[in-house]
Structures are given as C-alpha cells and as structure tokens.
Symmetry: C2
Subunit: 321 residues, 2 copies
C-alpha cells in the first residue's frame, strides 16, 4: 500500500441498508455514508445512486484519487467471480455481476465476498485475529454465517461457496425446519430467530414462572431473552445454556476439521457475554477429541459492531485487482 | 527436482509392518523393502535396522547419492515438528522425534505426517487428485482417517492435527462407543470394524435369512459382508446402504466447510464399488445445501493399494527441507 493511495473503500450491502466508508491503513473510518438497499428494484439504479453518494463523500474528503481498491461484503457474494448469486434478502434476483458494475463505474479495482468472509478478513486485518493464521469466524445474527481462515488464507472452496457452517446438521432426528428447506441446521437453533424459537418452545412445554411470560409469546425476541437473563430469570438463562451447548457441540466438530487456534464470535448474540460464552466453552471442551482439548480459544470480535461490516469489507480493498 | 537427485524415499509406518520404497518423479516404485515394526520395543533399535535395510536397498539400486528427501507417513504423525505423538498402535510410547532421528542418520531431509495426510499428498501427486486444488481424502480402514486439501495445500491446522474427520459426531443420541472414548463418531459406523458391528446389530435385531448367519456372529468381518452382498444377499446389501447413507450425511457437512471439488475414498471399504458408492452419493446429494448439489464428485483412489502408502509418503520427500 503506497502512500499515494492510502485509502480503501468498504461497502457493506445489507437487505435494508448499504453502508460505505473510506478507511485508512490503520482501520480508521475517515468518513461514511449509506443508502437504502431496499429502495432499488433495479440494480442499475442502485449502482448509479451508490456511485453518486460515494463520489460525493470522496470529494468531500479530498480522497478521489487516493483509493487503492473497493471491497464489498454482500449476502451470497462470490469472491471468485464478483457476483451476488440468488440472495434471498436482496431486491435483485438471479446472478448480479456487482463487482464488475462498480469497477466499470469507479475505474477502481473491486473485490467482493460474502458478509461473513468479509467479517473474518476484517478481524484478521484490524481485530481479534491479528497475527492468527488459523481461525474460524462465526457470525451470530438473523442467520448463522462463517468465515474460515486456514494458513492465513480465507477458505473459498472450489466454487467460492465454502464456509456455510450455519448449515451443518446439528440435530439429525426431529430437527427444526431451517430457512434453507432442510431440518436440523445449526442456524435453526443458534441464530437470533433460533433463540426466540427456543424461548417459545420452553415457555410452551414448561410451567415455571419467567419474566418472558409477560411478553406475547409470538413477539419474543433474542433481545428479550437476554434482558430477562440479565435480571436473573432462570428460564431465560437456561435458553442461553441450551443455545451455547449446541454451539459448543458444533464447534467441537469444526475443530476436528481445521484445528484452528481460535473461534471468534461476532454479532448480536455474541454480545451476551458469559451467558453464552460459558456454556459454549464447557460444551466444546466436553465434546472435543482429546488431542484438541484446552487448545482452542473462543473469543469475541474486537471490532465495533457499527463499524465492523464496513471495516471487514474495506480490508478486501487492499488486495483488490 | 534436479536430475542429480531424481529419487525420493517413502516410508509407511504401520502397527505391524514398516514398508519403504525408492520412488522416481513419475511415481514409479524402483525398489522396496520392509521390516517388522512391532519387533522393536526401542525406537533406537528400530531406526538402526531401518537405516541398515534402506541403505542396502539404496546401494543395490546405486541410488545412495540420488535421494532428494525422505517422506514418512505414520499414525499420529505431526508434520510441524516431525514427531509421532502417543500413537496407540505403535510400540513406542510418548512423543518420538522420528523425522530428526532419521535425518540425523541418513543426512537427508525428512518430512513426516500422518498416514491419511500422506495418502492425500500421494493422490494429489500421482493419483486421482492430480490437478485438483480442493479435495478431501477419506481413508476407510480399521479406522476412518482424512486428509484435507484446500487451495492446493494440505490442511495441518495450528498444531498439525487438523483433519480428524473420522471423529466428527454423526449420531448425537444413543451413538456407538468409539475407540476415542466418545460416542457417535463417524469411525464407529463406517470403519471396517464399524461395518462388522452393523452386521452383528442387524443379525441380532432382524429375523430374515442371510448368508451371514452361516458365520459365527463374533467372527464376521466387513469382508464377509462384502462377499455376501456380491452374492446378492439382501441383508448384507442393506448393511452397505446403512454405511453409505451415514457417510453421505457426513460428507454433506464436510462440503459446507470447504466446498471441495471431490471427495476421494481410499482403503478396503472403498473397493466395494457401487455397493458403497451408490448409497454414499444418494445420501450426500439428499443432505447437501442447495448451492452445493450436483457439484461434488465422489471418486475412488487411483493408487494401487499395495503401493499407495509408500507413494503417498514418498511424495512428501520432494518438499522435505
């Protein structure tokens, strides 16, 4: 990274908003902006407005000629061909060659990957994974995503779709229906919606009192479960134990695959602290093969959540070609 | 590989025998020999005799000064430090610095890894995986081992112990006890001993006739199951279906991790052909996430079984330092 091009741009495309920022080599976001993803039925209109808004930001920061590359994190983003493929939560259907569309418009190299991979790259460049060559990033949000780093390199697989660890089967018998159409996926239990579902199951099956019974059962969110657990609610706390135990079981299997030095958690659920970390670590250690015991750290992301998506995407910009 | 050092040596250390061979760049075994591993209670005596026998072979082939490196495949072999660590089936206990002991004796670089990793390297160098950058090797023998290749590199993990896919948990409820002390491991179902165990379970629970009922139940081996299935025995054939279905379930999860182009099977059970391949492929496709369907080949090793172990180990010799 030469001083003549000291910045990169990170773009995080979410179903609701697209956030973008200008980032320096130390991982400081110099300036940022956003547009509403869901406003655009046509991806061409989206790219036009994104170009206008981002260009304005670049001019304002006197950075127009100082951008090394643009990195994009997007759901179902494919690193190999720079496309977004059949993303269920975006307004544009089919295969969208977004990296090409953006580099045509800006005349700057663009690199694109999925959001969890972007988070892993961000963590490796600016966060808890600095200096780590082997780790797994697990994003616990509406869904469960993953970015796997082996020997210092992100794992893309032969087709760019490696690392769908939210969709390993953790319950083969009577497993919950997952959004992917299969049953028993990790995501169906340990995403924010999975936690809310566990709450509803617990409240329906059990008779004991709980703060959660004050909320209409269909409205309960993982945030409600967290709030109740923090106030000492026993049932809410057991929901975290249940969730963490399942994550630990899954992590023990992930370790048998790539033997990482650390598993790093990111996203809303990860912020629940010991409530989720304790059952995860206990379950992972209990379920691991002997040769791995005591070797794998479970850590929280060190990126500020509001910045992480943009930082993660921007880190890709340094290597964009 | 310069023409002045046109050969490597491959050493495959098994619990019973140690086989070694001189191999050229095309993967032809020029000459080979063996000693009995289990004869040696002291690893020093073992190394002395191995040195004597291998030196004699090298002289006989006029190859003493033509060896680029020595590659060793050994159970519980650690690539990073060249040690064999706590191998339950070898006579030497604790941590054995075998690569160092051999390179001290021969004055040639020695590289060591576990037997399944050696098989993967062999397959990549000489076999079915030539040209593949992303594949998983599964060895189906007395145990179930694996060697994972991502982006053209073998996955060792942070500690050299990555790739214990025989020990992912495939049955979380009422799982079979595994040799590792845990329950429900893939190995407990799909190793040769796992198949024999399935045969005993089926014969005890079911009442239908089978050729296998002519054999004392405790003596049944996976080979007996194969022989019966080939003769059209329905129960034997269903044992293969059961085994293949479980392997396919596991493979579907492996694919969600590294999205390989192929999964390559090696070892006794793999030689059962369609009896095992058909249920594996059907089960894998049925259990995979939609984005992976129809993309992953399940293939058989192309290495002759008698040569594979030595060839796999020898392939490591080219890169030994």
């Amino acid at each position: 990274m030469t001083m003549s091009k000291p910045y990169v741009v990170g773009i995080d495309i979410g179903g609701t908003n697209t956030v973008f920022g200008i980032v320096d080599a130390r991982g400081t976001i110099i300036a940022s902006g956003s547009i509403k993803t869901q406003k655009y039925n046509q991806v061409e209109d989206y790219v036009t407005d994104l170009y206008t808004e981002l260009s304005r930001l670049l001019e304002q920061e006197n950075a127009t000629d100082k951008i090394m590359g643009i990195g994009v994190g997007a759901p179902n983003g494919n690193y190999f061909n720079g496309t977004i493929e059949f993303a269920p939560n975006l307004p544009w259907k089919g295969v969208i060659p977004l990296a090409q569309m953006l580099s045509d418009r800006f005349g700057i190299p663009v690199s694109l990957t999925n959001d969890a991979n972007a988070a892993a790259i961000g963590e490796m460049t600016y966060g808890a994974a600095r200096g780590l060559k082997d780790f797994i990033m697990i994003t616990l949000g509406t869904g469960v995503g993953s970015g796997i780093v082996i020997n210092g390199q992100l794992v893309y697989g032969h087709d760019g779709f490696a690392g769908e660890l939210g969709h390993v089967i953790i319950r083969r018998t009577n497993g919950r229906l997952c959004g992917c159409g299969r049953t028993g996926c990790l995501e169906a239990y340990t995403s924010a919606t999975g936690v809310a579902r566990t709450a509803r199951e617990f409240l329906e099956i059990r008779k004991d009192d709980s703060l959660l019974r004050q909320i209409p059962i269909q409205d309960i969110t993982s945030k409600d479960v967290y709030d109740a657990a923090v106030k000492g609610d026993k049932l809410a706390s057991e929901i975290f134990d249940y969730t963490g135990t399942i994550l630990g079981e899954a992590f023990a299997d992930f370790v048998a695959f790539s033997s990482p030095k650390a598993i790093i958690l990111f996203g809303g659920l990860a912020k629940s602290g010991d409530l989720i970390m304790k059952p995860i670590c206990e379950s992972m250690e209990r379920n691991m093969l002997a040769i791995y015991k005591g070797k794998v750290k479970v850590m929280l992301s060190e990126l500020k959540e509001s910045d992480a998506a943009v930082l993660g995407a921007s880190a890709l910009g340094w290597e964009a070609k």
